[in-house]
């Protein structure tokens, strides 16, 4: 078993575009759940709406990339309005069921053969990346960073992605320190108290839903730009609950939490998988086979959801006082 290689792989995974996507989605979910107390179980749909909004704009509407990205964001705003206006008045657990159901409905619509001229059906779409890749400012070639080598296009995605994470986190930090952010936290702790101060709770919740959704949509766009394809079966409930694990690991009511949580979570999964795979090769885990190892990923996600909520609801970086609310 090559321990060094396992850690190298984990480091690569920590910085990978997949991690960027989870971090951005988790930042959005932090706005929803951590700061406002909204139980959104459909974060995958926000990411998917952003991704499909951008891809279809390029593919069918022939818009340039810049406008297509704006379209993706606009789509997620509209999606948040459609989802939020009727449901934000409901009790928290109803909101959870409506969001998860909406996410599944969206996935069914992207999969169905009826719309496959536009959406690509279950095969998805893949002819949209050329403009993004053409904008790569990094000269072609391989770049060696210590013990890993990136191609220019890989480096480009990472730059764009982590750039988006840093800018997004800074914006969130300003927002949450503002009076507006304090109202959100007030809603999380006691909706009625905020209402009695004359604030329009519904309106604030809607704004939180939109902002968190936009973060997820940008995450979704980076995900599909990196792969150069968008497929409906990616945006399942498992995608949503991976984001929840990331958020709860880092700490729901923090900005640092989703970022560090995402990196740590992905690294932990990668290391566990690598170690177990090595142990299986050495014959030390006779009841498991190599394909079983792939299942460990989701098993860890489920386990971390349970253990974190029960034993450490504030996550690694949170404040326990901020996790006592119950919507």
């Amino acid at each position: 078993m090559d321990i060094l290689n396992i850690f190298k792989l984990a480091l690569g995974e920590m910085l990978s575009p997949t991690t960027i996507t989870f971090v951005l989605c988790a930042l959005g979910l932090a706005v929803h759940f951590g700061f406002t107390g909204l139980l959104n179980f459909g974060q995958a749909a926000f990411a998917a709406v952003g991704a499909y909004g951008m891809v279809i704009s390029i593919d069918t509407l022939k818009l340039p990339l810049f406008l297509a990205v704006l379209m993706g964001i606009l789509c997620s705003v509209i999606f948040a309005l459609i989802l939020g206006i009727p449901t934000l008045r409901l009790r928290a657990d109803y909101l959870a069921i409506v969001t998860i159901a909406t996410a599944e409905v969206f996935r069914y619509f992207m999969t169905t053969i009826g719309f496959s001229k536009v959406t690509g059906g279950s095969n998805g779409l893949s002819q949209f990346g050329s403009e993004f890749w053409a904008m790569n400012p990094i000269p072609a070639g391989n770049y060696n960073f210590g013990f890993a080598t990136y191609r220019a296009d890989q480096l480009y995605v990472l730059m764009v992605g982590w750039g988006a994470v840093i800018i997004g986190a800074l914006i969130l930090r300003l927002l949450m320190r503002s009076p507006w952010g304090r109202v959100l936290k007030g809603i999380r702790e006691d909706e009625d108290a905020v209402r009695s101060l004359g604030k329009n709770v519904f309106f604030y919740k809607l704004q939180a839903l939109i902002i968190g959704g936009v973060f997820a949509s940008i995450g979704g766009m980076i995900f599909v730009l990196n792969l150069s394809n968008v497929q409906p079966q990616v945006w399942t409930t498992n995608f949503t609950f991976t984001i929840w694990s990331v958020l709860l690991l880092g700490g729901a009511a923090t900005i640092l939490g989703p970022i560090a949580g995402g990196m740590i979570f992905i690294a932990l999964i990668s290391i566990t998988q690598g170690l177990m795979s090595g142990l299986v090769d050495m014959g030390l885990l006779p009841f498991l086979t190599q394909p079983d190892i792939a299942q460990i990923r989701l098993l860890l996600i489920g386990l971390s959801l349970m253990l974190l909520v029960i034993f450490r609801p504030q996550g690694l970086f949170g404040n326990k006082k901020e996790t006592q609310f119950n919507g």
Binding site: Y94, V98, N123, W162, N226, G302, K321
Partner: protein, 430 residues
């Protein structure tokens, strides 16, 4: 909160710095997660066998698409076909109806496209049960009758599974996202006892129901009761149940593999007017009705049932009148386990079983429970039958692959218009 915030921000600044450094020093391969080839190098295979009245059918063509692939496979003299693929992922298999011999059609004429999931396993078996060609255009009246029958069948199955959710929600306030896995539990264990260990079906079903009841007991005593003792919030407990459902699903894959298990391949055909059905469907519907009637009797006529309804209405008040609330909740969990296990058995016998079975119908169950009014056990039955009808009738007007979406849209609309459900009492839900 301010101090905490300041700490966070301080740490935040440091992390940004650390990130920048990390980013510039280290790196690693970017792993594309969309399509990893099989991890152990063994070939990935999509396969199946076509038989008509137990005789293999040669020359049937299958079109396999997905993950950039578009190929045709043809069945050989043994009726077997297979295709090796390179990438993991989900593929669509379409049986090309025009390649079937004359007079032979699909037993379920709409199911000409099925999914082959190669995410978890290296071999995916895709079966298309054949029967007499029913592709004659039926009068719309007959179609509606057929759909209503199928809807009733599905609705009754959902009802048996949904009552458990409703009872648990009523007595504990928990929306149990791991409920679908209890359905899967019933189906997979029946397969284990009946098909693998060759027990008679009734014995296998009886053992499974006892195990399912035990599973309900175990869940409550090992997990949910301690969490209630810790006074964990309901939303937090709901997230725990999501974690549990993911874990159970992965355990099912590890122990049962990811392929579809055939619980019964012997079908005795029954023709009722325009309806072509099987004896097992009719028996299943009868059993569902019996189970539902039993629950209705139990809740309205027995002391424990009445106590359970009292706990649903107001747990504190029930406790004050001398009802042992924890004991009632335990009984509810055991009952829910047994009923849901039964639903899994019936569902598996009609539609076959795999590890995702429960997860696929979970939202339909929530839809049924919500439609009937959360926490009202008998409301769930009405809700489930409505959902069954919606799913099947919607297929007359919208594409077949959107029929579950139709049920979920109904759920969303009901929550918006009448969140207390069709039978629920109006109360504060905002």
């Amino acid at each position: 909160m301010n101090i905490a915030l300041r700490n966070t921000l301080g740490r935040f600044g440091r992390i940004v710095a650390a990130l920048t450094i990390l980013f510039s020093i280290f790196g690693g391969p970017i792993l594309s997660q969309a399509s990893a080839a099989s991890t152990d190098g063994s070939p990935l295979i999509i396969t199946g066998t076509v038989k008509n009245e137990k005789k293999p059918v040669e020359g049937v063509e299958f079109r396999i698409t997905g993950n950039g692939l578009d190929e045709i496979a043809t069945s050989n003299a043994e009726g077997k076909w297979l295709l090796e693929v390179e990438k993991k992922g989900i593929y669509e298999v379409e049986i090309l109806l025009e390649s079937l011999p004359k007079g032979v059609g699909l037993r379920d004429p709409e199911a000409n496209i099925r999914e082959a999931n190669l995410n978890a396993t290296n071999t995916a078996a895709v079966l298309f049960p054949l029967g007499k060609d029913t592709r004659v255009v039926q009068p719309i009246g007959d179609q509606i009758i057929i759909r209503l029958f199928a809807g009733l069948n599905l609705g009754l199955l959902l009802a048996v599974a949904a009552i458990g959710i409703s009872l648990i929600f009523g007595t504990t306030g928990l929306n149990n996202f791991a409920h679908g896995e209890m359905v899967t539990f019933g189906a997979l264990f029946t397969w284990l006892f009946h098909v693998e260990l060759k027990m008679p079906l009734l014995v296998a079903a009886a053992i499974t129901i006892v195990l399912s009841a035990g599973f309900g007991w175990l869940q409550d005593s090992a997990l949910w009761k301690p969490l209630r003792k810790r006074r964990l919030g309901l939303n937090q407990i709901m997230i725990v149940s999501i974690g549990l459902s993911i874990i159970l699903r992965q355990l099912f894959i590890l122990f049962f593999e990811g392929d579809t298990k055939v619980l019964s391949s012997e079908y005795e055909k029954v023709v009722l007017g325009p309806i072509n059905t099987t004896s097992s469907s009719l028996v299943s519907m009868g059993l569902s009705v019996a189970a539902l009637a039993f629950v209705a009797w139990f809740l309205t006529r027995t002391r424990i049932g009445k106590a359970a309804r009292a706990v649903s209405d107001n747990a504190a008040l029930a406790a004050a009148t001398g009802i042992n609330v924890e004991r009632i909740i335990r009984i509810v969990w055991v009952m829910a386990g047994a009923l849901t296990g039964l639903a899994g058995i019936l569902y598996g016998l009609q539609f076959q079983a795999n590890y995702l079975l429960g997860a696929q119908i979970l939202l339909l169950l929530f839809a049924a429970v919500t439609l009937g009014g959360l926490g009202k056990a008998l409301g769930a039955t009405v809700g489930a039958i409505i959902i069954g009808f919606v799913v099947e009738l919607s297929a007359l007007v919208i594409p077949i692959d959107l029929k579950y979406a139709a049920a979920l849209i109904i759920l969303i609309v009901v929550l918006l218009v009448r969140p207390q459900g069709v039978l629920g009492k109006k109360q504060r839900i905002g």
